[in-house]
Amino acid sequence: MRHILYEIKKHVSFRETWVAYALGIGYLISSMWNYRDLTGNVQQAWYRWHQHIWLYGANLAMFLVIIGMSRIMSYERERRTDSVLLTTARGRNKLFFSKIGFAAIYAAVIVVVFGVTTFVHQFGILGFEGVFDSLKGSIYFRVDGEASITNIGFGVLRHCLFYLSVLYLTYLVMLISQLTKRPVVTICICGAAYVFPVAYYVLGFDFLSDRLEAVAEFISRCSFGGFMMLESYSWGRTWDFCYDDWIGNLWKPILFVVTAILVELTLLWALWRRKERK
């Protein structure tokens, strides 16, 4: 735990982190104001809150993760402390696991702060009405009859899925950062990799031929962007799925994300253990 605290200290010493926090808070406030529900209808408010990750949460998390994590793997090299730290008895392993632990905590903090802030903002004025009511509907699937999940339960489930997706991105940023050793190049690569699925889901690539569109859809679905917007957790065309199908098939995308995270960690470990050629 002590080593994770050291990583937190490193993280807060980055100037760009504070700039990202300031801009992120500004973006969160403006988005909450822009997408607030003014109808006063509780069901409508829940329906809207269940979409806030897609509307702006994914963008915000992507921004904070890419900026905040882009330097974490190259910090020792920049400060020229790597040759000392990595030659100590257990320095290499401890440093690696403290970075992995810090990344998991950082992703969790982003998701929790985002979820709690938007929840309190949306339902504070409505007196948290309908929290334990059964879910009536969502943009992601059709509810046939009575859903066995409550509004808050569904919100928590969505945020757990969001956390998995943010973790998928976080370790990818660390992997690219380990490869490039340059924060700006990492930011560029990860930013571009996020823009593609977002452009696909928001704009649609109708101009592509059927085969190319299928390729674009496959890339978007498997990329972290698709999972962060929670689009890829619907294993098929989202609005055709009824509630039971969605829940029943949820293990497939979760298995995919967990596998992707494990692959990222394995690659990261292999790269970390690799001896540098001077």
Binding site: F14, R15, V19, L23, E78, P183, C188, F207
Partner: protein
């Protein structure tokens, strides 16, 4: 200044971004050609509208990722203490870097503008002549040139002040991109002059880099942009004096 321009030209990232932007334009022109084969006017309008989306984004990426990096690279590499003790390592180097950056911005606009013209010309449907839209295209390119140079200067001053490249990218890139997003927002429909969103939409160089004059309260923007650049320059000078780098 020649040595600074050579340093820019030696950056592989600069050429990679430029090539990627032109290849992306090639793809878009191909799809435009396929879709508007029998509507040449639409094809021409899209070709002339290059700076509105893809062109302005490519130029902003070039400026933020490559061109302003010179203003923080000494600190990143730890060479700043040596450079600032050299005879021409302070004021002269600073001004030369600014000059070289402006030259490279102009060069980038020229390459992107010319590249779009050539790609659109060769991909155009039969019987379509790019010269039909040449005048508006040149006009938008010149506006982009003015906006691009202004954006480069503002971003480089910010990078010099914060002495951190990723932080400068965030500070300048976030408001720049926000201006694109405003168009998809509900609030854009009822935008009034001097609202915060109105200010963010027009006051961050984006409209100019997109090749469009700002028609709402133009007098204000004629004052705002020079004041913004001069103010950031003054802040940069102040910070350099504080760090004893000037």
């Amino acid at each position: 200044m020649t040595s600074e321009i050579k340093r820019y030209a030696a950056k592989a990232l600069y050429w990679m971004i430029l090539a990627t932007a032109l290849v992306a334009r090639g793809f878009l022109a191909y799809f435009d050609f396929k879709e508007f084969k029998y509507e040449p006017d639409v094809y021409l309008d899209l070709a002339a509208d290059y700076w509105n989306k893809a062109g302005s984004l490519s130029l902003a990426i070039l400026i933020l990722i490559v061109l302003i990096h010179q203003f923080s690279i000494d600190k990143e590499t730890g060479a700043d203490t040596v450079i600032h003790t050299a005879r021409y390592g302070r004021r002269r180097l600073y001004l030369e870097r600014l000059g070289a950056g402006v030259v490279m911005t102009v060069f980038s606009v020229a390459i992107l503008g010319l590249g779009n013209y050539v790609i659109s010309y060769f991909m155009s449907p039969v019987g379509v002549h790019m010269r039909n839209v040449l005048a508006p295209y040149i006009e938008s390119t010149l506006i982009t040139l003015v906006g691009g140079v202004g954006f480069f200067l503002a971003a480089s001053f910010v990078c010099d002040v914060v002495a951190n490249h990723p932080a400068a990218i965030c500070i300048c890139g976030f408001p720049y991109v926000f201006s694109y997003l405003v168009y998809s927002m509900e609030v854009n429909k009822n935008l009034k002059p001097f609202d915060l969103v109105w200010f963010l939409k027009y006051g961050t160089f984006t409209e100019l880099v997109r090749g469009r004059w700002i028609t709402t309260v133009p007098v204000f923007w004629c004052i705002w942009y020079p004041m913004l650049i001069i103010g950031l320059f003054a802040l940069s000078i102040y910070k350099r004096k504080e760090r004893k780098q000037l």
